[in-house]
Subunit: 362 residues, 2 copies
Amino acid sequence: MNELNLRIPGPIPVAEDVLEAMASPMINHRGPQFEELLYRVTDRIKQVFETDGDVYILTASGTGAMEAAVVNTLSPGDKVLNLSIGFFGDRFGEIARIYGAEVTDLSFPWGQAVDTDAVRDALRSAPDIQAVLVTHNETSTGVSNDLEAIAGVVKGEFDKLLLVDGISSVCSIPLQTDAWGCDVVATASQKGWMLPPGLAFVSFSSRAWEAYDRAAMPKYYLDVGQYRKYYQKGQPPYTPGLSAFFALDLALEKIAEEGLGALFERHKTIAQMTRDGIKALGLQLFPDESVASNTVTAVNVPLGMSGAALLSAMRERGVVLGGGQGPVEGKIFRIGHMGRVEPSEIQEVMDALEDALPSLAS
Amino acid sequence: MNELNLRIPGPIPVAEDVLEAMASPMINHRGPQFEELLYRVTDRIKQVFETDGDVYILTASGTGAMEAAVVNTLSPGDKVLNLSIGFFGDRFGEIARIYGAEVTDLSFPWGQAVDTDAVRDALRSAPDIQAVLVTHNETSTGVSNDLEAIAGVVKGEFDKLLLVDGISSVCSIPLQTDAWGCDVVATASQKGWMLPPGLAFVSFSSRAWEAYDRAAMPKYYLDVGQYRKYYQKGQPPYTPGLSAFFALDLALEKIAEEGLGALFERHKTIAQMTRDGIKALGLQLFPDESVASNTVTAVNVPLGMSGAALLSAMRERGVVLGGGQGPVEGKIFRIGHMGRVEPSEIQEVMDALEDALPSLAS
């Protein structure tokens, strides 16, 4: 199969040796080999999260980890402020709502970031709010929130429980779980971790554990209390996606070798190259450039052009881009640049766009 | 790494070519390649389930699929009869209880099967029961229930909703979803499907969909309604464990080539060989032999012997067995024989037992 240049915002291309690790033979998930593996990868994941708290590995997509964040810390009737700047922000609030939380949405126009002052006002005017939900990097709009500043308000000024969707941010852009005071951070393997999808990681602060003890939302598969109990025996509560654990072990070794600082810098550089390339083609970024994400770049489909036609013209040229979700379906396209992306791969996207665009203009 | 003879009741050893498929490069889970793959594997899974109803593929362990069975069909306060013959039967009831169902347990001693007459009596004396939960094959005790007979009572005589844990049965021993009237059947990839863990499959009858419309238990990640909606577009609702999908595609091709009849026959033969071998060693089967499972054999640890010592003596001899769970921890050991098991692999277990046992007798 002729391999395509997969430039969606996850799953991302995975290195050959990490893919090969996916083909490792099965082991007993309740035996000594797995115990060693579980402890080793968990310790390394904590380093990436920059946390001394707990981190658990779920066999689920990132959405499962978002649900774990909610159901393990909240009760029906709890008052929650949901900061949404797009599709996944809306999803976070929706999960809390479905499980019976009283969710107040503080939504910002798609393409913009959370306004920290508005968060302060909202928390001031509703002192009974117990928890704040926020997306660190909104994959649907290509916008990064200033999580440090938001946490400064939510934790520093109001001392609320802070639940973070870090799915397309952790291991790509800086997120200091402990230093910023994030109580729960959810992320998933197919993003900056440079792995296939199938695993999700969720961190838990001591404050989150206090919330857990009161949390009355029902849960079983996503109950982190079960994960904590079995972790003490070196086991998972339920049979995990073993193959992805083997790959995770190798990917984390590579991440440790590179170092987080270099990894973040690399994402910044490649994102800037992407935005510069887009502008050089006369295309328009969808978000305000000042808040544009370093893991995914969202671009307006030129007026009068079909988004679907653009995606398929790019696919014919060997480049797979992401489309728009929800209200921006057909109106934007997205270029993923999480993980190890070579400048030549971004150049290929630009070349293909340059080639495709004239034929698409009506 | 010197490979061990992995004889736990899942994860099971996976064929080399299926493992290699796990190492396939990533694709867009919202693109045309995945759509084709999704439809092809779903159609083939339905053939194994022997159903014309719906089947969805979750990225989760089997426990996630059990939870999906419960939360998508029931409401808090619903009256449920849980037929338990072991650890996983208890888990099924526990999930329903946590989500607010009023669960009546009809439990049978570990090592025995469900008594169909007792089910009839229970349903007759509590006409307000809406659903029955049952384990087809209890992995913890090595017992298979006569699901056809149970379904005959639950559906044929009382017309209740029937939710089945088929985790260690589907694709190993006969389970005719439609013909027997099973409304939801849950299973997982690391069992008879001969795949690594990471995916779970759940079938849904039209009766189950009627129940879905009334079901008020909260759910998001495991909401099959989302799976149904996205399936129509050829997509998963959330990013799936892609690697296991590639492997599933190949595994299903191999299953179709062999044919279900031959596959069931093979399991029967290898199970009989295992039981005969155990008895020839002077060991005692844990369950009543008349209801012993064809996917896992549970054996009593000889009196005065340490179960843990037995497992580690076997491991030193290259054979990984399963221990006992819950109340039989240390008291039984289990030999898994799901998937493609060669007689020589079972012989190896017997030889290792013969070698190990004398040194363990106190």
